[in-house]
Symmetry: C2
Subunit: 374 residues, 2 copies
Amino acid sequence: MFDFSLNATDGAARRGRIATPRGQINTPAFMPVGTAGTVKAMYPEQVRETGAEIILGNTYHLMLRPGAERVASLGGLHTFMDWPGPILTDSGGFQVMSLAQLRKVTEKGVTFRSHIDGSAYELTPERSIEIQLLLDSDIIMQLDECIALPAERPEMERAMELSLRWAERSKTAFGNRPERALFGIVQGGDDPALRAQSAAGLAAIGFDGYAIGGLAVGEPQETMFRVLDELVPDLPADTPHYLMGVGKPDDILGGIERGIDMFDCVHPTRAGRHGHAYTRFGVINLKNARHRDDARPIDEESPNPNCRRFSRAYLHHLVKTEEMLGAMILSQINLSYYQELTGGARDAIERGVFAQFSADVRRQWARGDLPPLD
Amino acid sequence: MFDFSLNATDGAARRGRIATPRGQINTPAFMPVGTAGTVKAMYPEQVRETGAEIILGNTYHLMLRPGAERVASLGGLHTFMDWPGPILTDSGGFQVMSLAQLRKVTEKGVTFRSHIDGSAYELTPERSIEIQLLLDSDIIMQLDECIALPAERPEMERAMELSLRWAERSKTAFGNRPERALFGIVQGGDDPALRAQSAAGLAAIGFDGYAIGGLAVGEPQETMFRVLDELVPDLPADTPHYLMGVGKPDDILGGIERGIDMFDCVHPTRAGRHGHAYTRFGVINLKNARHRDDARPIDEESPNPNCRRFSRAYLHHLVKTEEMLGAMILSQINLSYYQELTGGARDAIERGVFAQFSADVRRQWARGDLPPLD
């Protein structure tokens, strides 16, 4: 059965545990994104070894290729990609808005054409639930309409109200499935009153968890944090709080400080494919010529072997020659750092020293990378 | 100390063992190609786990990026790429001929411009040895001139004689290094007399091993086998025989039958990146739509877990969506099959049943892949 228990709090920060039939998820949790049935450049067991307990699958990508019915006939997404742990799927809405062509939103849902071959699709709240069930998802998201910021208030209000009506339809379509979870998504842009109205409306419907959508869509970090400051205390405390599509390490730390339990983002894997390594001392751009002759590893005291075994010069070489191994190693390094960060936060919240932990983490980020070689 | 021992023969096929300070190499051996300091899409330990005991590095690629002096200052190629086992490096000559721009061959050596940035280089027999020593190579190849087939006899003769003079200079430049090996390279195109003359000339100079260059350069397989039939018996029997740049599985089996001990080729990794999987039942093109709904694995009785755990449908999906994991898995599957093939040959030669082994292998290849699903 799906369940959430809160084990400790420290300020607004929460240490919890999500139970699912496919395994537990310690929160705060970072979920690597397995866009099209693979966390890019990683074997499933390598993802697990970074510490990840749950991954995310993208409904939009999977409904186009290989198709939800096909995944179902092949045994579901876990079997398809050989990831036995829990999977959260998004509703497809966000990527329809950001990737698809000729999209048209109506009360019923959204029609669009595939960015791959132009073929026509319709995604309704009911079809999104159906697809996510075909994928055999453990945590299912309602279809919502996510708009970019900044936006005018009437537009934010319209999208928020539509998303609330879609939430209601999603709940009906999902039915009673205690082994899975359905999460509602709070919308309302950067307007506190709209966000509060959305949260109250969702709570009245009743969900297994509450996600915050429509952030990290172009607004400054302080806007995002201000929305969280006002919104998160309004969310039901006995369910997980999920900040969708966020973010960089400092976004995640700030989210945990404000009571967020779950995060996902393509950033660590995408940054890895672009030659960036995240460590406790911030981000290292391995494309930079300063690393060309640098025999030092990324971080010789890291718990992650990949941070200790390869020289910066070697990683620079792999990135410059566009070798896949560079993307493989740096994706692993970044996902590991994200897990190290959330694992450290969990430990600190349990021990009641989260403020100290955050200060220490920020001090290390501020120290920055090693000085270049002479 | 470098050493070669012959443990068993069966017909012309040989079961041997090369000793190097970095570990032994059981022959017949297939050497995965680590072009630019990485066997593409594979961690070093994943290469080792396929059964590979030695890899090949490309002097041409490494001299351009990151540069031989740089690799040396970073501790040599083994340290640079974290492959502790033996490494064979080619001389750079073959890729100068196939990749570089504005190349000009003189008695002294070859000048060319980099295919990457157009910068000018000179490669002489002496510089090639120097580069390979900077890379800390265990098995070093002489610089030769490799021409494409078909070619006119005077051209084959000229290139063969030049390669012989370069062999002499390479031997002098290499000096006395008992912990490493220097291999001469037989040239002479598809002309038996020229090949015999080249082999005799090299044997008179004296090398730790003898490679056969200038094959698999456009000629039919039967031409290659005919050259081997006439040439290999002339090679010194107490040293390894290395067929350069070969090949597909049936080229390798035919080479072993003719007394070849060592092979290298980019084919298994390149084919993997292009969606092809080699198994004991031949080659499977995973791009083909017949695999789209096929839940069966590549080969459910393979000793390689990757052949058993992922469905053809999943691999088809990864290949069609150009996901790196597809290249990673298929490179691993192909390198594993090549090791399975050479390992099986070693075992059969030891047991004196190599003819039976070859017939069985060819029968399985001829059986071909499973029939498509209905």
